[in-house]
C-alpha cells in the first residue's frame, strides 16, 4: 500500500509537471498568434454596421484588457496566478474571470462526453465480448469490422452523417441547439425531455467515436484471457461457469483502463468539431471563439482545461488499474 501511495504521489507530481509544461507551451503558442483582440473587435463591430468612432471606442476597451507588459513578465504573472488557481480574466468577455466563462461552458462538454463514454463503454464492451466469443462466425466478424470502422471514421464525418440522416432525411431528431428555446429551462419535464432529445445526436457521436476502441480492446482482451491457462484450470477444478465468467471479466477489463484515458482525451479533443457542428456551447466551441477573438487568457484556459482533463483521466486510469490489479498494487 505504501508503494502504491508513493506511486500515486509520483503520478500526481508528474501530472503537475505536465500541467506546467502544457501551461508554458500554451502560453508561448497563444502569444505567437498574429493579430490582437482590439483590432478584431473593431472589425467585428464595423462589419455589424457600428459607426467607426463608436467601434473604435469599444475596441479600445477590449484592447484595455490585453496586457502590454513584456512577455516574460506576463508569463511569470500567468504562472503565479495559476498557482493560486486563477486563470486570469477574459478579454473578449471584457474582464469576466476566465474560470467563470469556462465553468458555464464546461457542463456542455463534460456531460455529453461522459454520457457518450458510458454509452460507448456499455455497448463497446458488450460488443467486444460477443465479438470475442463469436469471433469465428460471420456476425462476430461484422461486429469487429464495425468497431474498426467506427474507430476510423473522423468524428465530424460521423456527426455530419448523423445530422444528415436523422435531422435532414428522416426528421426525427433535432439538431443544432441544446434544447427547444420556447421552453423554460429548469426542473421541468418538457425542458429536460427537450435537452435529452437534443443531446441524442451529439452524445451518439461521442459514443460512436469511442465505441470502436472499447470493442476492439475488449475483444482482443477477452480472446487472450479465454486462452489463459488459469481459465482452463478453473474449469478443470470444477469452478462454476458464473465464477469463471467473473474471472474472465475482471482479467479482461484491465487493458480497458488505458482505453479510458485515450477515450477521454479523444472526446475532449473531438469536442471542438462536434460542438461546432451541433452548436453546443461547450469548451470546444469556447476554444474556437477564443481563437477567433484572440482572447489569450481564455484560449490558454480552455486549452489547459482540456489537457488537465486528459492528465486526470490518465491518473484515474492508473488508479483504477491498481485497484483491480494486485500485481500493480502490491508490487
Amino acid at each position: 500500500m505504501k508503494g502504491f501511495l508513493r506511486r500515486l504521489l509520483m503520478k500526481l507530481i508528474a501530472g503537475l509537471v505536465m500541467v506546467w509544461v502544457v501551461a508554458t507551451f500554451t502560453f508561448v503558442l497563444v502569444h505567437s498568434l498574429p493579430g490582437n483582440p482590439g483590432d478584431i473587435e473593431y472589425d467585428r463591430l464595423i462589419m455589424q454596421g457600428t459607426p467607426p468612432e463608436i467601434a473604435q471606442a469599444k475596441a479600445a476597451v477590449v484592447a484595455g484588457f490585453t496586457s502590454h507588459e513584456p512577455l516574460l513578465q506576463q508569463y511569470f504573472g500567468y504562472l503565479g496566478q495559476l498557482l493560486h488557481g486563477n486563470l486570469g480574466v477574459s478579454i473578449s468577455y471584457s474582464g469576466v474571470p476566465v474560470a467563470d466563462v469556462i465553468a458555464s461552458a464546461a457542463p456542455w462538454t463534460v456531460l455529453p462526453v461522459l454520457s457518450g463514454l458510458v454509452v460507448s463503454f456499455i455497448i463497446g464492451v458488450a460488443g467486444g465480448v460477443i465479438a470475442a466469443v463469436k469471433r469465428s462466425t460471420r456476425w462476430g466478424g461484422l461486429l469487429t469490422l464495425s468497431g474498426s470502422l467506427m474507430a476510423g471514421i473522423p468524428s465530424f464525418v460521423l456527426a455530419l452523417l448523423l445530422a444528415f440522416l436523422f435531422h435532414t432525411l428522416w426528421q426525427i431528431l433535432p439538431y443544432g441547439d441544446t434544447s427547444d428555446v420556447t421552453l423554460t429551462p429548469g426542473f421541468n419535464g418538457p425542458y429536460i425531455g427537450s435537452v435529452i432529445t437534443h443531446a441524442v445526436l451529439p452524445v451518439s457521436t461521442y459514443a460512436l467515436l469511442t465505441y470502436g476502441g472499447w470493442l476492439l480492446t475488449m475483444k482482443s482482451s477477452v480472446v487472450s484471457v479465454l486462452g489463459d491457462d488459469f481459465i482452463l484450470a478453473a474449469e478443470l477444478r470444477g469452478i462454476s461457469p458464473v465464477t469463471r465468467m467473473r474471472y474472465i471479466a475482471r482479467n479482461a477489463i484491465l487493458p480497458l483502463f488505458t482505453v479510458l484515458a485515450i477515450s477521454v482525451g479523444y472526446m475532449f479533443g473531438g469536442s471542438v468539431l462536434i460542438e461546432d457542428i451541433f452548436d453546443y456551447p461547450g469548451l470546444g466551441n469556447l476554444l474556437l471563439h477564443s481563437i477567433g477573438r484572440r482572447d489569450y487568457p481564455l484560449m490558454g484556459g480552455a486549452f489547459l482545461l482540456i489537457t488537465v482533463a486528459i492528465i486526470l483521466a490518465n491518473i484515474l486510469a492508473e488508479l483504477l488499474y491498481s485497484v483491480i490489479d494486485p500485481r500493480v498494487r502490491r508490487a
Binding site: G238, S240, R250, N251
Partner: protein, 339 residues
C-alpha cells in the same frame, strides 16, 4: 528381471479405479477430423502411480484432459469410454455432475510452466471459490484442510492463502496446484508435466511431495510427462504413447530396462541420462508426430522406425499382452527389439 515384473504386475482381479478403453479424440481441421488420440486404452489402479510418457504431440496431454472430459475445442471425444469408479463413464457426464467430478473425484494439476491461478485473486479467495463451486458447506473446514495440505507440501499456510500468484515462485505455485487438486479429497490425481520448467531442486521436491500425498491419501495417480527421468523416479507403471494405440505398457522398471517397442527404446536412447551412459545417447530421428503427418494406415511409428517391415505400412499392430503384466503393439518380435 522377470521377478520384478511379477511383483509389480497387476492381478486380473485387482480393482480398477479408472479405465480408459478404446478412446479416440479427434480435432477438426481444414483437412477434416484428425485423430490426436486413437483407440487408447489405459487402466489406473488404486495405490499406483502410472506414468504416461511420449514426445510432445503424442497426444498424452489430450488424453489427460479427456479423462476430465475437457478436450478443448475444436477437439472432441469421438469414441471409447472412460469409466471412473463411482462416477461411471466420464465421457457421458455433463453439466453439474461433470463439474462436480472435476476437482471433486478427479484432481488435475497443471504443467508447472502454466499459470493455473487467477492473477487477480488471492489463493485463499480462489480456494473459497472452489469450495462454493462444489457446494462445500463448511468453508472453514475446507480452509483448515487446505492449511493442513499446505503445511504438508512444506509451505506456510497463512502466508500462502493471503498471497497472489505473482508473489509465489514456480515451485510454490506447483505445490499450490497440488493442494487445490486434493483439497476436495479427490481420489484420482492427474498431473500434466508437473515438473517441466522447474529447476532441479524444485523438481525433486515436487516429486517427493507427489509421492508422499499419493501414499498418505491412497490415491490413484497419473503423471503425464515427456521426461523419463521423472517416471523412473516415481512411477509404478508406465504407459508409452505415440499417436495411435499405446505402443507399450507395463511396470515402470521393466519397461525402462527392457523396452520391447522400438519407440520406447528410441525414447530411452534419447534420454541417456537415466542409464548414465552418454555414449549411448542418440537423437530420436525424424519429427514427432503431428495431426497432419501421422499416417492413416499401418503403424504410426513406421516412418521413424529403424526396424520397419513392409507389413508395418499395411497393418496396424494390435496391443497385446506378451508377458504377464506387459502389453505391446508391434509387428517386430519382442526379441528383435530387445536384442
Amino acid at each position: 528381471m522377470t521377478e520384478t515384473i511379477q511383483q509389480t504386475d497387476r492381478p486380473v482381479d485387482q480393482p480398477v479405479e479408472v479405465s480408459v478403453s478404446d478412446l479416440t479424440v479427434v480435432y477438426r481441421t481444414d483437412l477434416g477430423e484428425l485423430p490426436a488420440v486413437s483407440r487408447a486404452s489405459i487402466d489406473l489402479v488404486p495405490g499406483q502411480i502410472t506414468g504416461l510418457v511420449g514426445e510432445s504431440g503424442s497426444g498424452k496431454s489430450t488424453l489427460a484432459l479427456a479423462m476430465l472430459n475437457a478436450v478443448p475445442s475444436p477437439g472432441r471425444i469421438s469414441s471409447g469410454s472412460i469409466t471412473v469408479t463411482g462416477l461411471g463413464d466420464v465421457t457421458k457426464l455433463a453439466g453439474r455432475k461433470l463439474r462436480h467430478a472435476r476437482g471433486g473425484t478427479l484432481g488435475y494439476v497443471f504443467q508447472a510452466s502454466q499459470n493455473s491461478l487467477n492473477p487477480l485473486k488471492t489463493i485463499g479467495k480462489q480456494l473459497l471459490d472452489l469450495g462454493r463451486a462444489h457446494d462445500v458447506r463448511d468453508l472453514r473446514a475446507l480452509v483448515r484442510r487446505a492449511a493442513q495440505l499446505i503445511s504438508e507440501v512444506g509451505l506456510d499456510p497463512d502466508r500462502v492463502l493471503d498471497s497472489y500468484q505473482h508473489e509465489l515462485s514456480g515451485g510454490m505455485r506447483q505445490r499450490i496446484g497440488i493442494v487445490l487438486a486434493l483439497v476436495l479429497n479427490a481420489r484420482v490425481l492427474i498431473l500434466d508435466e508437473p515438473t517441466t520448467a522447474l529447476d532441479v531442486l524444485s523438481q525433486a521436491a515436487v516429486l517427493d511431495i507427489v509421492r508422499r500425498v499419493h501414499r498418505d491419501s491412497g490415491l490413484t495417480t497419473l503423471i503425464v510427462t515427456h521426461d523419463l527421468g521423472v517416471v523412473s523416479e516415481i512411477a509404478d507403471r508406465l504407459v508409452v504413447m505415440y499417436g495411435g494405440p499405446n505402443p507399450e505398457e507395463g511396470p515402470a522398471t521393466a519397461v525402462l530396462h527392457e523396452p520391447s517397442h522400438p519407440y520406447t527404446r528410441a525414447l530411452i536412447g534419447a534420454m541417456a541420462r537415466i542409464v548414465g551412459d552418454i555414449s549411448a545417447a542418440r537423437v530420436l530421428p525424424g519429427r514427432p508426430p503431428d495431426l497432419t503427418t501421422v499416417p492413416r494406415q499401418g503403424c504410426v511409428f513406421r516412418d521413424r522406425c529403424p526396424l520397419a517391415m513392409p507389413v508395418c505400412a499395411e497393418e496396424e499392430p494390435e496391443l497385446v499382452q506378451w508377458t504377464p503384466g506387459r502389453r505391446r503393439a508391434c509387428h517386430v518380435e519382442p526379441t528383435g527389439v530387445l536384442s
